[in-house]
C-alpha cells in the first residue's frame, strides 16, 4: 500500500478531481480512487503529479502513513529550536 497526499495538495490548489485529472492526463476516477487509497498510481503518474504540484515525490507519496500536519509542525519547531 502506498499512501499519498493528493487530496490535500489538490484541495490547497482549489481544484476538482476532473481538473486535476485533465492536467495530468488521466480520467477523474483514477484521481478519485487514488485519493481514497483504493488504487496505487503508476510511477509515471506519481512523477507527473509531483511535478504538477511542484513538490518532491516523497512529499506526495510514501510507503508509510503520513504524519498529521500538527505533528509535522511540532517536529519542525523542535528541530529548529
Amino acid at each position: 500500500m502506498i499512501y499519498n497526499r493528493i487530496k490535500i495538495l489538490r484541495t490547497e490548489k482549489g481544484l476538482s478531481r476532473k481538473e486535476l485529472a485533465d492536467a495530468v492526463g488521466v480520467n477523474f476516477q483514477t484521481i478519485g480512487y487514488l485519493e481514497r487509497g483504493d488504487y496505487n498510481a503508476s510511477l509515471e503518474l506519481a512523477f507527473k503529479l509531483a511535478e504538477y504540484f511542484e513538490v518532491p515525490i516523497d512529499m506526495a507519496f510514501s510507503p508509510r502513513p503520513f504524519k498529521s500536519l500538527a505533528e509535522e509542525l511540532t517536529e519542525n519547531r523542535r528541530a529548529a529550536e
Binding site: T11, S16, R17, K18, V26, N27, F28, Q29, T30, G32, Y33, L34, R36, D38, Y39, A41, S42, L45
Partner: protein, 163 residues
C-alpha cells in the same frame, strides 16, 4: 481513427454513481443466475421449462432487462475497448478482469476433467448431445466473460468527480 473515437467516450460521473455501480452489481448477478437457469434447464430438462410456464417468461424478462442495463453501462463497454485507449485505472481493472476470467476458465476445465475421469472410472453411462453441449458451452462463456464483470462490479466503489 478508432482510437480517437474511443478516447471521446471516457467514463462520466454518472457511470460511477451509486445507481450505476449498484445497478451493475445487481444486473450482473441477475444476468448470470437467469442465464444459467435458462441454459441448464433448456439443455437437460426442456420439459420442466415448458411446465413452469409463466416462470419461464419471468426468468427471460429478468435476463432481458439485466442485459439491457448491462449493455447501457459505459464501464462494461469501456473494458472491452483496446488497452491503449484506456486510462491507467481502467487498464488495471481490465487486467484484473482477464485474470479472473482466466482463473475461472482453468477451474472449469479442471472440474470438467475431474467429472469426466470420475464418470469414466465408475463406468457411468453419460452422453451429451450436440444441443446440450451448446448450452453447456454457453454456460462456460457466461462464467468466463460475465462472472469477472460481476466480481469487478462488487469491488469498485461509487465515486464522484467532486469531493
Amino acid at each position: 481513427m478508432i482510437v480517437s473515437i474511443f478516447d471521446k467516450m471516457p467514463l462520466r460521473e454518472k457511470d460511477l454513481s451509486h445507481f450505476a455501480v449498484y445497478g451493475l452489481r445487481i444486473s450482473s448477478i441477475l444476468f448470470i443466475l437467469s442465464a444459467l437457469i435458462l441454459t441448464t434447464l433448456q439443455a437437460f430438462h426442456p420439459e420442466l421449462l415448458e411446465r413452469i410456464g409463466i416462470g419461464r417468461f419471468i426468468v427471460q424478462g429478468i435476463l432481458g432487462v439485466s442485459s439491457i442495463f448491462f449493455a447501457l453501462n459505459r464501464l462494461t463497454s469501456r473494458l472491452a475497448f483496446p488497452q491503449e485507449t484506456l486510462d491507467e485505472w481502467e487498464q488495471s481493472l481490465k487486467s484484473e478482469m482477464s485474470n479472473i476470467g482466466y482463473s475461472t476458465a482453468c477451474i472449469l476445465a479442471l472440474l470438467s476433467c475431474i467429472v469426466t475421469v470420475l464418470l469414466y472410472n465408475f463406468q457411468v453411462d453419460f452422453t451429451l448431445h450436440a444441443e446440450q453441449l451448446t448450452f453447456l458451452s454457453l454456460n462456460f462463456m457466461i462464467a468466463m466473460f460475465i462472472f469477472p464483470i460481476a466480481v469487478i462490479a462488487w469491488r469498485i466503489k461509487p465515486l464522484s468527480s467532486r469531493n
